[in-house]
Amino acid sequence: MYIAPELLRRIVEGALLAANQPLSEDRLLSLIDAAERPQKSELRIALQQIAADCSGHGFELREVASGWRFQVSEDLAPWVNRLWEEKPQRYSRAALETLAIIAYRQPITRGDIEEIRGVAVSSQIIRSLTERGWTKVVGQRDVPGKPSLFATTRDFLDYFNLRSLDQLPPLADIRDIESVGQSLEESGGVTTAENTQPMAEGLSTEPESGVVREAEAEVDGEVDQAEK
């Protein structure tokens, strides 16, 4: 009674290409009459097969926060970019830092962001991030002035090709402040900035060093907090 697997695959492919945006598994299943609707597990098999079929092609199947989408392979960007006159938008450091702080520390108030950055955050930045659909107000902190609490959106994850917040590059760890005295004696100790790069690389392959594991634990903690 279920729809034939081949037809299911074709429907999923067609829908994902027609939709021009990611589609959730539920949405995909909703396209099929209840009487023929397969189990989610069958849909997943279809998705796996579609993903496998993409190999060697100029596109790939990817799961991001709001569902599945076909996307043009990253290595083709140099050619595909020529379709458009305009260079892709760049974001100012201030905007990126603000976005990063919101992403890793959500929900967070503007005051908190300013505290971390050490400077005022312009309303312009907050507004443009919100207009872009990357951040949103999720509530107010219950303190005088009721400052807005900001968080990132599903669109933010989609845009950065992420399924969830824990796919963000890990935050560098902070070494125990107690070791300050010690470190003062050491010269040219490993700096945080220097060890972050290898961390990001390590994650994409195999986390083998202790440093990486520490960093992961740290990030998990942060993200957990953020999700609450």
Partner: protein
């Protein structure tokens, strides 16, 4: 000043050169404003032209006092944990002074940081009784280090995030033309009660304008009228008797008869008889403009003469 004889230096200096040159000395003593060709300057040469825009670019490159401090620390290849507060304070103050000299609109945060650095420096210089130290709580230097570390990790996170493949820059949503939506457009559903309610509305409205008497309609007559018209739309002439079906009985004959009468009344059909007591034919009214056609078909049917009965 000798430097005034070297116009090539400052005006042609790139932003990067200025940025590197400015805070170069880490001496504990009087910090030169800049070192150009090995010569130290303690104040801006009055005739030295640095395009204000250039300096602004340098200063705007810093995302606030923490960023500036980080920059100063990194310049000395130092770990945050190993900063020499006295050194850093001095360098920091040089920048702040420079910003002031350039009448650069200085964000208040820079001054707050300057004050904090001064405080830390003074605290470290002044010996304190051990008791006081316990009361003092957290070492202000620890607090500063913590903030620097915190800021740095997000600064790095922002850089990492900037490296993530991004839609519209590194990745594109793949899309294809969707099938024609007309293929599956769903048609409106209507319930008979809806239809009747609509009709009732029309009547209500009509009643408001006129006291119209709606007689009880014989729908079967109406339906038969349509059937007759349908039949006539295919053929020019239809023998009247062929409309009457024995199997419909007396009532059927009456209905057909009434339908034809009604059609005649509404000028929709005409009856045609070619001779007295001859066969009566029925045709769509207004056949005149199709006269040739009509005649031809009539001829084919063997009824060349027509007689219009009104």
């Amino acid at each position: 000043m000798s430097s005034s004889n070297e116009p090539a230096v400052a005006p042609s200096a790139t932003v990067a050169e200025i940025a590197v040159a400015l805070p170069v000395a880490s001496s504990q003593h009087e910090l030169p404003f800049a070192v150009i060709n090995g010569e130290a300057y303690n104040e801006l040469p009055s005739d030295l032209y640095i395009p204000p825009d250039a300096l602004e670019v340098i200063l705007e490159a810093f995302e606030g006092p923490l960023d500036l401090l980080l920059y100063l620390i990194r310049r000395q290849n130092l770990d945050i944990l190993a900063i020499n507060v006295a050194d850093i304070t001095q360098q920091y103050m040089t920048y702040v002074d420079m910003m002031t000299t350039m009448r650069f609109e200085l964000a208040a945060e820079y001054l707050v940081m300057a004050a904090m650095l001064m405080e830390i420096k003074s605290r470290m210089l002044l010996p304190r009784p051990p008791a006081a130290e316990e009361e003092a709580g957290e070492d202000p230097r620890t607090a500063l280090i913590r903030r620097l570390q915190q800021y740095e990790r997000f600064k790095t996170a922002a850089e990492d995030m900037d490296q993530l493949p991004r839609m519209g820059r590194d990745l594109y949503q793949a899309s294809a033309d969707a099938p024609d939506r007309k293929l599956t457009r769903s048609l409106p559903q209507v319930d008979l009660t809806e239809l009747l309610a609509a009709l009732a509305d029309v009547f209500k409205r009509a009643d408001m304008f006129e006291n119209h008497q709606v007689e009880k309609e014989r729908l079967s007559t109406r339906e038969r009228m349509i059937q007759v018209l349908d039949m006539l739309s295919h053929r020019q002439f239809v023998p009247f008797v062929s409309l009457l079906k024995v199997e419909e009985g007396r009532l059927g004959v009456i209905v057909t008869f009434l339908a034809v009468l009604e059609l005649i009344k509404e000028s929709l059909v005409e009856l045609v008889q070619n001779e007295r007591f001859g066969q009566i034919h029925i045709r769509v009214a207004g056949g005149e403009n199709q006269h040739t056609d009509t005649t031809e078909s009539a001829e084919l049917n063997g009824q060349p003469v027509e007689l219009v009965v009104d």
